[in-house]
């Protein structure tokens, strides 16, 4: 199966990993470019509900902010309060 072989190649060869990262970078840049284009008001391609819908690339910013907040807050809550040893209920 080519997908599995490809993944194996990326994982075992650092230069392949670098290449893959580069593809993702290009993909990201393309997304932002397309996002800027579709935000041109005359094209009427984006429906505006809130003021931030005007900002190109807002979703990218919101995506990484969400990830950061979720990981940091969840882990903090976990360590402070929620995560318990596995025999917590068996005492």
């Amino acid at each position: 199966m080519w997908i599995i072989n490809y993944l194996e190649k990326i994982i075992e060869h650092p230069e392949e990993m670098k290449k893959t990262k580069k593809y993702f970078l290009y993909f990201g840049i393309a997304l932002v470019v397309v996002d800027i284009i579709i935000h041109i008001p005359q094209l009427h391609l984006v429906h505006i509900y809130f003021f931030w819908d005007w900002i190109p690339g807002f979703s990218s910013f919101y995506g990484i902010l969400s990830t950061y907040l979720i990981i940091v807050i969840s882990k903090w809550l976990g360590h402070e309060l929620l995560m318990k040893p596995e025999d917590f209920y068996n005492d």
Binding site: F24, G28, Y49, F50, Y62, G78
Partner: protein
Amino acid sequence: MIDLWIHPGFLFFLAAAALPFVKTQWKSIFKLTVPVVGFLSLLLVSHGSHGVLSLMGQTEMIFGRVDKLSLVFGYVITIATLVGMVFSLHVKEDKEHMAGLVYAGSALGTVFAGDLLTVFLFWEIMAFSSALLVFYAPWKDAAVKGMRYLYVHIFGGLLLLAGIFIHVGETGTTVFDALPHEGVGPMLILCGFLLNAAVPPFSAWLPDAYPESTITGVVFMSALTTKTAVYVLLRGFAGAEILVPLGVFMALYGVVYAVIENDIRRLLAYHIISQVGYMVAGAGMGSEMAVNGATSHAFAHILYKGLLMMGMSSVMLMTGLRKLTDLGGLYKYMPWTFMLYMIGGFAISGFPFFSGFVSKSMVISAAQELHRPWVAMLLTLASAGTFLHTGLKLPYYVFFWKDWDQKKIEAKDPPKNMIWGMALAAFACTFIGLFPGALYQALPFDSDYHPYTWGHVIGAYQILLLTGVGFFMLLKMLDPDETISMDTDWTYRKAIHGFTWFVKKPVVWWETRAVEVYKSHLIEPVKKFSRIGWTIDTWVFDGVVNFAGWSTRIESKILEMFDMHLIDGAVTSAPTIIEASAKRLRKLQTGFIQNYTLAMIVGVVVLGIVALIVI
């Protein structure tokens, strides 16, 4: 056209009863035919009320209220049953399939119920039949967990029943349609519904029980109970404002727990709570688009969550491991499981061209149209969290992370039927993503919603890509810990421990003290008292009685002797004495001595009797 109504729920019940009698070589075909026939029967049925049963002329039980809302849930339940049956074909014992069929049948019964009594009837069957899927699990403590699950649902069922009684008492009707959003009766009904929808704080039963169900039973578990609850919320409480904050809170709550969870199936179970949050919020917003969004999200969710659960169940079955900390590097050894799982992961994360995208975006768009920025933004944040843990964290730590030691546990893809079950669900996820029109047509309200706009697609890809970037940047923070997560079940699980402790420690202490006090202050004095009593009894009363007895005997002896020697002697010698002394006595007395003697004897006997009675 003939008005054909075969209740698919009753069909499933009959099939469950018939299954043990089907010949072994026909069993597989039978198991697959039943859900297909159920699905086809729904395609043929006409809208309206079927199967109405009059209860003593007082009230009616409506078993078949068929409209677009109930039909779309009916379709997906029968499809999920088919997927579950394919996935579990290799299981030889009938009991799991029978429980699964009864469970799915009762879910269908609830969905097509037109009155509250019928809802309650099937609600309870659903609770008991689903608990069986936990009881049948081979792991340790399955029975304990099954009982805990059952207790929570019995509690929820009682809330529902109490609410129904109060509501029917007030309004005089059992019809199940949009219910009032205030009053004790409807609020109790709502609480019963919210418990099954796993809305915090009534949610802990779900991650407690689902990961403990059997390998194949989890497909039914993840599909039926919560989504049936979403259906009844949409039917009874669409537009109830309280559901909006509850739903948003759920969506985030599940995400937080999914980040810290170490058990693979429990992580997915927490994630069910997060996903049902979208549906509950959709029900709360109540607009046509929101209800459509919640319905389509339930439809899509049943399929991709089933797929994800099947993937992780396969990992569990083949490796015998269930903790992220123990797993890793499986992608080479379980390639089909990995790839099919990833389709589920893409679908749930809302990748364009998969099912989650066309349903989740509808709920968020509904929030935007109603101009509720907080709802829209927090649900979008939760969807980033969805990709983070279901699409990235879970597959990363199960299939990559570290090398798999194939020598230690030989891992390979599961039996073919399990792969086919996953493939069927993966096909459905992709099909709905590519052709959302088929699903949209079945929704309760007509809609002209278009998910594939430039804004949606580009926005979705940006969020997903940057979530991926954030994941790899913060990877070290995400490494799993060997812990379990405390949830609201703490209250009743620790409460039981607390009760045991209370009984073991304070109660026993108090009991010991009480016994000591009882001994020293009650038993001992009583003993002492009784000893004194005994002494008095022995020496005084017995003494008196014995004394009386002895004295009577001595007395009688004396009397006997007195009688024999003295009186008899006196009597026999009396004539002589009389004769001898008569001459003298005649001078003194003229009476007879016998009279005097007799009077003496009578006097002594009377004295003896008096002494006996008195003493």
